[in-house]
């Protein structure tokens, strides 16, 4: 009886030990086997093929000796560490203009030239998780309960507006349209931006800086991200935040995108001169609460009696 117990215990010990060993092996393997290593290996091989040994032996030699390593851009200005370039290693390399992701060159090289990766990093424009080194972890798609996601194509201009407050100067059509919509629909009747406007709804001055974790995400149909929250909220405010006094406005998808881009560009960050775009000397940010005269309503008949009395 006792012997049998001891025998069993011995077997249990051995099995447990082996299981622990296997787990340790798996941990070690998963730790070493990272997806970015394959991308970098792929890049190295493709680049060696493109350059050729004969054309430029010195460069070829250096590329052949390249070893997979974590690459990152540290930007002290906005405290980011962007490791996107670990996978998107050829983002500035014109040879990879037609390659598949993640090796594809940036689609707008002239834009990248004005905003070098080494100075700006990636997430200041594109959002997402700069520290992550996997496709999933860097939040290319919205992650449940992790609302800092990559900025979608339609809302990219919202990030231009972080620094460029003169929308005309950078030809940001969506931001211009969004600001015009903000004025036309008299959003400032309820919402304040930089001290202009009413106080019925929340102040939107620093909307882009607002912590996304404070947004009610449970009623969203799409992915849980701040960007999607804004879009769905414009479509149907009552559904996204029940009990809100904001009503829905009839807008096309393009108009919603423009207005969302505009409100998502409203930040109150201060940048040092190195990162502040040059402004025209006479640039004054347009007022968002401009009163638009409505011709039909100026006649006396249209004015309700109550208003007349108030004037007295």
């Amino acid at each position: 009886m006792e012997k049998a117990v001891i025998r069993r215990l011995t077997t249990l010990c051995i099995v447990c030990g082996l299981v622990c060993l296997v787990l340790l092996g798996v941990a070690g393997f998963r730790d070493t086997n990272r997806e970015w290593k394959y991308y970098q290996e792929d890049y190295r091989e493709k680049l060696m093929g493109k350059i050729g040994r004969d054309k430029n032996p010195a460069v070829y030699q250096r590329i052949a000796q390249m070893k997979p390593e974590l690459k990152q851009v540290v930007v002290g200005e906005w405290q980011t560490v962007d490791r996107c370039v670990t996978c998107h290693i050829s983002i500035e390399d014109p040879l990879f203009a037609k390659a598949a992701q993640p090796l594809k060159t940036h689609p707008y090289p002239e834009l990248l030239k004005q905003h070098p990766v080494e100075k700006f990093g990636c997430t200041i424009c594109h959002g997402g998780q700069g520290l992550a080194t996997t496709y999933y972890g860097s939040s290319h798609e919205p992650i449940h309960n992790w609302p800092v996601t990559l900025v979608s194509k339609g809302l990219m201009q919202s990030r231009c507006g972080y620094c460029h407050k003169d929308f005309e100067a950078i030809h940001a059509d969506k931001l211009i349209q969004g600001r015009a919509l903000f004025q036309e629909m008299h959003c400032s009747g309820c919402h304040q931006i930089n001290g202009q406007g009413g106080a019925v709804g929340p102040d939107l001055s620093g909307f882009a800086d607002k912590d996304p974790s404070n947004f009610p995400m449970e009623n969203l149909q799409g992915g849980r991200s701040k960007q999607n929250w804004v879009i769905e909220h414009f479509k149907d405010p009552q559904r996204v935040s029940p009990g809100s006094s904001m009503r829905g406005y009839a807008m096309s998808d393009r108009q919603i995108e423009a207005l969302a881009s505009y409100v998502l560009s409203l930040n109150q960050r201060e940048f040092t001169r190195k990162y502040t775009p040059k402004l025209r000397a006479d640039f004054v940010p347009p007022r968002v609460d401009t009163v638009q005269p409505e011709q039909e309503l100026t006649s006396t008949q249209a004015e309700p009696d109550g208003k007349k009395e108030l004037r007295l």
């Binding site: 030990g17 460069v59 851009v73 040879l95």
Partner: protein, 167 residues
């Protein structure tokens, strides 16, 4: 495979099988050694980070065209100066070897190339220490041109031979 053998031996009840005992002992010790060794290895790897919170040590400084012959251009925020002469170009560290202040390039002086504002160390045009408390010469960093034509300086590698990049 050997685990199967062990399981097979269990069909003999009662008897003390010395061979089996030895085998079990060996397996246990081997498992322990492998496990502890593996844990130690993984812990060691954990202590040696893949990457640090610091700007990349190798960085692009620009195209060749932005460094005309005879120019000395300080790269802001990186503490290096790119010097291009007729024979080639090199990257010299601007961090004083004394206490780490940024030395200032001295213009139009054939003898003194760099002067430290903190304690007055002076360096020759090639970075050799001339005077003051600095104990060592200013190091040169490895530098190369990548396939896109950009000049890259790698501050993690010191160019001890002081070879110039011929372009």
């Amino acid at each position: 495979m050997e685990l199967n053998h062990c399981g097979g031996a269990a069909t003999m009840p009662g008897d003390v099988d010395e061979g089996r005992r030895k085998f079990v002992k060996k397996v246990t010790v081997a498992t322990l050694a492998l496990g502890v060794g593996g844990v130690a290895l993984q812990t060691g790897r954990f202590l040696n980070p893949n990457v640090l919170y610091e700007p990349a040590r190798a960085f692009k400084v620009g195209e060749l065209a932005s460094f005309p012959i005879g120019s000395r251009i300080v790269i802001e925020g990186r503490g290096v100066e790119i010097v291009r002469e007729r024979e080639g170009m090199h990257a010299v560290s601007l961090v004083c070897t004394h206490l780490g202040c940024l030395v200032k390039p001295v213009e139009n002086n054939p003898d003194v190339g760099y002067a430290c504002p903190c304690h007055g160390s002076t360096f020759a045009l090639k970075g050799e220490v001339l005077g003051g408390p600095a104990p060592k010469d200013l190091p040169w960093y490895e530098m190369y041109m990548d396939h896109t034509g950009a000049i890259v300086v790698d501050t993690s590698k010191v160019n001890r031979e002081r070879t110039k990049l011929v372009v």
